[in-house]
Amino acid sequence: MSAVMITRKVRKWEKLPGKNTFCCDGRVMMARQKGVFYLTLFLIVGTCSLFFAFECPYLAVHLSPAIPVFAVILFLFVIAFLLRTSFSDPGVLPRALPEEANFIEMEIEAANGNVPAGQRPPPRIRNVQINNQIVKLKYCYTCKIFRPPRASHCSICDNCVDRFDHHCPWVGNCVGKRNYRYFYLFTLTLSLLTIYIFAFNIVHVVMRSVDQGFLNTLKETPGTVLEVLVCFFTLWSVVGLTGFHTYLISLNQTTNEDIKGSWSGKNRIQNPYSHKNIIKNCCEVLCGPTYPSVLDRRGLMQEDSPVFTNSEAPSSFNNPVPQTTKTTAPLIPNEHTPDDVKPSIAFSAERSPSPKESSPSPKEEEHPPAPKLPPLASPETDAETSIAKTH
């Protein structure tokens, strides 16, 4: 058995579970599918370029030079807010390390007591009282934590996100606690930019048509038609979205809560997070503290375990096994188990209940066997947790 020491400095983002992509050595964090984000960027930059090329020269001379200046400022703000939303950590909660996961499992065991054989254990829910309302905290089978209030698991990014709003393909990232205000400001400034370009397009066409006739104007500035088309469709969607989010902010709700109807209806509890005052709610969401990222992306991994090269060895640094196929936790799916875990749960339920059989990696031996506990969620096979264990 030969041992090869890997001495390359590995940063933590390289070993983070979840389906994110990282750029600039961990400084930039996005979802995996970025196609729609590139489309957004192309539409904004393209339309603005056409505006600066065709309309601005005429308007600057015939109306005011302030028009292109203001357009440039708006454009820069839109791009800045878009990139800030897309590139920042939305508020991802790191997964529980094995000791914490075990601790929670033991607490759940203790709370459930003895479940008769053949009966399903009760769903994993913890009740907390917030502002005199009972809020249920759900257990996340993938991340092995009880989700904090307002957190939710994004199945596209495979992460629990704090104050999860929604996953936005247009910005190529989740929208959560840390980037919600950037997202809102992006939609707001984009609405303003769209209205601005649309309005000045109309003004430009009208002014020019008076001199040269409508058809000649279109011939001279063909970009106008394209811009008007893009702006027209964008207006309805983006302005509507901005209005919707303004409504949500004034009530201190997230899109996720609104869709699920968490706080609506007579039988449901009222929103315990709202200050019952529109101004206070807006101030909290838009002018509140800037939360730091709790995901240490650029920290260095502890490199104190050698990597063995033969086939028996755990392949910790070379092929991280995808999270989703391994995380089959206490084998009881409920309605809130993420969909990608359910097939593997059903599959492993048909086999013997021991988790060791489902993954033949020798890394299983590193973890102490716990026969008294119900089948634990299979230990993650990525390097981060094994290294944390050897700490």
Partner: protein
């Protein structure tokens, strides 16, 4: 200070990790960061109740200071918004400043109070602000919970 810190690292290498106790978040006041002041039973013989409660209370007050929504946070938010948040590339936010204070406080508490008792606090930010992790160590050589010579020299140095 340097001598005590040296002992802290020695303790980590010479002592055996017995268990970890996790102090959970207290959500009774909403989503603000706050830890429960419930004393875990596993630490009954290791540390006095009042010391741990004092640590948790101080940590909670630091987090309240960081997340306070008031004049300074509005000013910071509006200024940053006006510059399209580019100012955050050069400036440290108030929350980050308080986090540094918290990190120093935890290190100081570890050196003065927890390491002499064979315990170690982990900064909550390293656990996603979900739990306050208390690692319980047992001296590698001894059979019971008698303090080792390095630990007693640490406590006598106080």
């Amino acid at each position: 200070m340097a001598a005590e810190f040296h002992n802290l690292q020695e303790m980590q290498h010479s002592a055996l990790l017995v268990t970890k106790v996790f102090i959970q978040r207290d959500y009774s006041e909403g989503t603000v960061c706050r830890f429960q002041n419930k004393f875990p039973s596993e630490l009954n013989n290791r540390i006095e109740r009042t010391l741990l409660e004092e640590t948790v209370k101080t940590l909670n007050s630091y987090y309240v200071e960081a997340e306070k929504i008031g004049g300074q946070s509005y000013l910071e938010g509006c200024l940053a918004c006006a510059t399209a948040y580019i100012v955050f590339l050069c400036m440290e936010t108030r929350y980050e400043k308080v986090l540094k204070k918290i990190s120093n406080y935890i290190q100081e508490q570890n050196e003065k109070i927890y390491a002499p008792r064979g315990l170690l606090l982990t900064d909550p930010i390293e656990r996603g602000m979900r739990v306050l992790e208390v690692s319980v160590f047992e001296d590698r050589g001894s059979s019971g919970s008698t303090p080792s010579s390095s630990m007693s020299s640490c406590s006598s140095a106080r």
